[in-house]
């Protein structure tokens, strides 16, 4: 009878490795951690049953090294692989290798990853499935001249993006031909360097927008359900800093339309497991468009867990094994409000990275407070990986209560050593924009001009 795999190799590091291990242990699943030479002291290693060194610090030699990870799985007899987010999580080739090795892949079918991984293909697929998309290119834009010609048709401002991109890398908005030419060349260089694929697409840019995404779950029986939305408009460099659910900018009628679109998106690719359909909501018109789909567990998944009471990692393990989810998919309820703050090793003014040894670490606790931490006192933040130290997640009966709890928790969080963005989060929570809920993706640049 299907249930959950009896063991899982976690092909990731830091807070998400710890978070996956927590649920695995609760379900009696044996855990295998992998680590690079830079991560020998990381807390997640002690939280797993076994830990395997897979290579030197640079990600290409360790956390992106599919052969080393598969060898670790073979050596430890792991029955499944959970990729977390980032690294190999959206690499269809890796997913196929896992499956071909006879292991269970804790993720969607490789074909779904592939179809959504190319943003141009995803756009076209969504348009055919009846999901709204922004006016833009249905095929790669070959050069800057073609980009300028296309912009003349769709109208400025436009957004330049790498088709294979993610994390905001290579993305820029352009208001005129000169900016577009410069943005196109930058995007192309970065797309080649970071993603090994120079294809570029252009879309109409929405200047005043909220970033709202829908959590979907493709069940083992083929149904796709939606577990509400998350508002991720608080961003710097097109990367999220804070998320909340429900979105203060989404009312019941709009929510119904967005969740229905999220379900259609998942159905269009035969989705299984946890995935996220990201949309941009035009605050001027109240219309939304598809942005991209993340075919994995999202960093900010805890806010959904806090309001629904559903453990998303548990559902991933169940679905991957062909089992039913642990809750009634027809009776999902949401209660209260949840906010997540990403605590990063970055200076709180310019958001520049600040690696270094952590000498003190006191995380807040209390009613409605959850901390998913990747580091602890005595560990060192190295320059090799992203700057996320921990996710501070709070829940309250109302948004006002969640805000109060978040303010208290930020004030109580003590980290010494690297600079952190805790002071920024204090400012954010006290700002008129964020407090009122009436904010958009410009909120960080308003607070840090």
């Amino acid at each position: 009878m299907p249930g959950v795999p009896d063991s899982v190799l976690i092909a990731n590091r830091g807070e998400i490795a710890s978070r996956i291990a927590r649920t695995a242990h609760r379900l009696g699943v044996r855990t295998v951690a992998v680590y690079s030479e830079a991560d020998e002291q990381m807390p997640y290693l002690a939280e797993c049953d076994e830990a395997v060194l897979i290579g030197p610090a640079p990600p290409a030699l360790s956390y992106l090294n599919a052969a080393a990870i598969l060898a670790a799985a073979a050596r430890t007899g792991a029955a499944s692989v959970h990729p977390g987010y980032g690294f190999l999580a959206e690499n269809a080739g890796f997913a196929r290798q896992v499956i071909e090795a006879g292991l269970t892949w804790i993720g969607p079918p490789p074909d779904a990853i592939e179809q959504m991984g190319d943003k141009i293909n995803a756009r076209n697929l969504m348009a055919r499935a009846g999901v709204p998309v922004a006016d833009g290119s249905g095929e790669p834009v070959p050069d800057a001249d073609a980009a300028v010609a296309l912009a003349a048709r769709i109208g400025y401002p436009v957004m330049v993006k790498a088709a294979a991109g993610g994390g905001g890398i290579g993305m820029s908005a352009a208001w005129n031909d000169d900016q577009l030419r410069a943005g196109f060349e930058t995007a192309r260089t970065r797309a080649e360097r970071f993603f090994g694929n120079p294809a570029i697409l252009l879309e109409r840019y929405i200047p005043a927008a909220r970033h709202v995404e829908v959590q979907i779950l493709g069940l083992a029986d083929g149904r796709v359900i939606a577990l509400g939305e998350r508002d991720c408009s608080t961003q710097r460099r097109h990367q999220k800093l804070a998320e909340e659910t429900p979105s203060p900018g989404v009312g019941p009628a709009l929510r119904e339309r967005m969740l229905a679109a999220g379900i259609r998106a998942g159905e269009a690719v035969g989705y299984r497991g946890a995935g996220t359909v990201e949309c941009l909501l035009d605050t001027a018109t109240g219309e939304f468009v598809f942005l991209e789909m993340n075919t994995r567990l999202q960093v900010e998944h805890p806010v959904t867990e806090m309001v629904t009471g559903i453990d998303l990692v548990e559902q991933q393990l169940l679905i991957a094994d062909g089992a039913e989810v642990s809750f009634d998919p027809d009776a999902v309820t949401s209660s209260g409000h949840a906010i997540e703050l990403r605590i990063c090793a970055e200076d709180p003014v310019r958001f520049l990275p600040s690696p270094g040894a952590i000498t003190r670490w006191v995380a807040p606790a209390g009613d409605g407070v959850r901390v998913d931490a990747g580091y602890a006192a005595g560990t060192t933040v190295t320059p090799h990986y992203d700057s996320l130290l921990a996710k501070l997640v709070v829940h309250g009966a109302s948004r006002a209560e969640a805000l109060d709890r978040a303010r208290a928790a930020v004030a109580a969080f003590e980290i010494a050593g690297p600079k952190t963005n805790l002071p920024f989060h204090a400012d954010l929570l006290n700002s008129a924009e964020f407090s009122s809920g009436d904010y958009d993706t410009s909120v960080v640049s308003v607070l840090r001009p």
Partner: protein, 70 residues
């Protein structure tokens, strides 16, 4: 003479300028990479780039010399 030093531990991703170049205030000399972020190192003042102390692929520590402008 102005010395430009690293603000953090980082990898040298790209060396944009060449020793002997005339540079203006704000020109990009080198692009560092740390924690998945690109950090441009800019000329602080105008002059001649007398020394470029880093090469692509180097790992530099906070306080390490990157360039000297005269």
């Amino acid at each position: 003479m102005a010395e430009i030093r690293a603000e953090m531990v980082a990898n040298v991703w790209k060396v944009v300028a060449t020793e002997g170049d005339s540079v203006a205030d704000g020109d990009t000399l080198v692009i560092l990479e740390s924690m998945k972020m690109e950090i441009p190192v800019l000329a602080e003042g105008s002059g001649t780039l007398a020394r470029l102390a880093v090469s692509e692929g180097d790992v530099i520590q906070e306080g390490d010399l990157i360039a000297v402008i005269e």
